[in-house]
Symmetry: C2
Subunit: 327 residues, 2 copies
């Protein structure tokens, strides 16, 4: 194995100089930097990660904590993971994959054994057991999905409030004056789930501001429930010409039920969804996308900033982008 001493000898310098060339943590004359670089290439030197971690107390690895079980929308998770790895590599970081199944114990383990420098945690719930642990571990962390109460922790998420509003604005611009909102199951709102509430708030406020008539209803997963909700909306909001759906699980059913009621989509009822892109693509619906790729990149950048000693804002909200798919 080629060590830093071999390189130093070959270049006729001290080991520390090689180290400094590599890390840039102190100035090295252009000439020696060249020579050392040359030796490194020639000998094919690659620093030993373990030795580095031991001496420098930096691993250059970040933990990516993902919900790998069913239930979550896998393609979104993948897109996010892909974006995280790519961005991490741009910062010379590697990514350790930890499943959410391991819970707080997993965080304790990888931090305690000094395997990682920081955490990227997806799908954090409001009263997540991992939040206090993360705080206790004291390592830089960035939370994703449903931001928790910030307190030294950093969160990134889509700006769901703006997303709700964006749907209304779009529909109003198309001339709609009566807009329905079909949301998550009632329990989700009861549980005070951040993203669901915020979307609804954004929708309602925008409807108010735009002076359009609106009604919002929750929807359970089963077909019958969806049919009932759609029926109620059509009855209550008789002149409804547009519907915002924030419930990816029943999106397809909603369209199906509308058609079963004799409404053409989008001619009679324009449907705008807040959901992963490929789902909207598949159903050919206008949508506000869940930007997993941007989220991943941003999350890594925030984590790197924290690792660099900076103090990024506790909450970063990504502006929603609406994709029109009329036709």
């Amino acid at each position: 194995m080629v060590t830093i001493v071999d390189v130093a000898r070959h270049a006729g310098v001290a080991p520390s100089t090689v180290s400094y060339v590599l890390t840039g943590k102190r100035p090295v004359s252009a000439e020696t930097r060249m020579r050392v670089g040359e030796s490194i290439r020639l000998l094919g030197y690659q620093p030993h990660a373990g030795a580095r971690a031991l001496a420098g107390s930096r691993t250059n690895v970040l933990a990516l904590v993902l919900p790998l079980r069913e239930g979550v929308h896998l393609p979104v998770v993948m897109r996010f993971a892909s974006s995280v790895v790519t961005t991490a590599r741009e910062h010379d970081m590697d990514v350790l994959l930890v499943t959410a199944d391991e819970g707080a114990a997993g965080l304790r383990r990888v931090a305690g054994t000094a395997r990682v420098d920081g955490f990227l945690v997806m799908d954090v719930e409001l009263d997540d057991e991992r939040v206090p642990v993360l705080r206790e571990l004291g390592r830089p962390a960035v939370l994703l999905g449903h931001p928790a109460v910030a307190n030294g922790l950093t969160c990134v998420d889509l700006d769901f409030e703006a997303a709700g509003a964006r749907c209304v604005d779009h529909l109003v611009e198309l001339g709609h004056r009566t807009i329905g909102f079909l949301g998550a199951p009632g329990a989700v709102y009861a549980r005070n789930t951040g993203f669901a509430r915020r979307t609804l708030a954004g929708f309602s406020a925008a409807a108010m501001r735009r002076g359009v008539a609106s009604t919002a209803l929750p929807a359970e997963r089963h077909r019958d429930a969806v049919r009932a909700v759609v029926g109620t909306l059509l009855r209550e909001l008789a002149r409804m010409t547009a519907l915002v759906v924030h419930n990816e699980a029943v999106l397809g059913l909603v369209v199906e039920c509308l058609r079963a009621e004799g409404r053409r989509v989008p001619e009679d009822v324009a449907v705008v969804a807040i959901c992963p892109d490929e789902l909207a693509e598949q159903l050919r619906l206008t949508s506000v996308r869940l930007p997993a790729d941007v989220l991943g990149r941003r999350a890594v950048e925030l984590l790197m900033a924290k690792l660099g000693g900076q103090h990024p804002p506790a909450l970063t909200l990504l502006p929603p982008k609406l994709f029109s798919r009329t036709g």
Copy 2:
């Protein structure tokens, strides 16, 4: 930070004894083992991964190399990754996520910096640039997907030949005597892609053995091509009552085209697919599943065996399982 020396002092033993308690690499009297264990728990000691890697030249990390881009079936990749992480943890291993995008350079990097003990590589192609590199690196590796020519390398895959045969056997048992086969695009066979060829071989041999009439045709992705192929099959194989489809990209279209031709599925034409489970589930088709979870588990187990100095078989083929979804 709690170190091994702290534990040793607390338990009144030498550091090496603590190490041996942890690794089990030499016998320790039950009594001291107890005492040391107690101290470990009390102090909350967790060994420093970097120090361990440096001194012991074992990282307890394995590299998982995944195709994270579009094109591959994301849910299958996720299920595989999930299974790999779970199984790895059972062996006290962590998983470093490497994207296939990094190519051979990524393998060189994580091996060269001593970040991982071994490799799990998904979606290996027949003339993959990574195969020679893997061999050169000399670290244990297990390849998945389309096994390459084994040569010190270990491969796992679904037994596609058996899968092709299984479909025929199932259909024959249901009484079908004329069976069509609709495969991947022609280029895939021309390229000598292992899994496609083997499936076809299994199908043909079984058809022959069972004495059923059969015709196999490749299918391109576009709707028109699919319609044409389905038309050809129905014409050439006039009495065809069953169809085996090994092309997940067009599976939905195939069913659609059959129905457009006035054939009910499965009453007039029984369709059996070789594809990921959830796709078959969604289309309600009988299928041979791609067992991503079993594959992941088995891959890790093979890698662990190699890390333990064993020499597992160069090729492991998983028996296909057929799921009947008639109704």
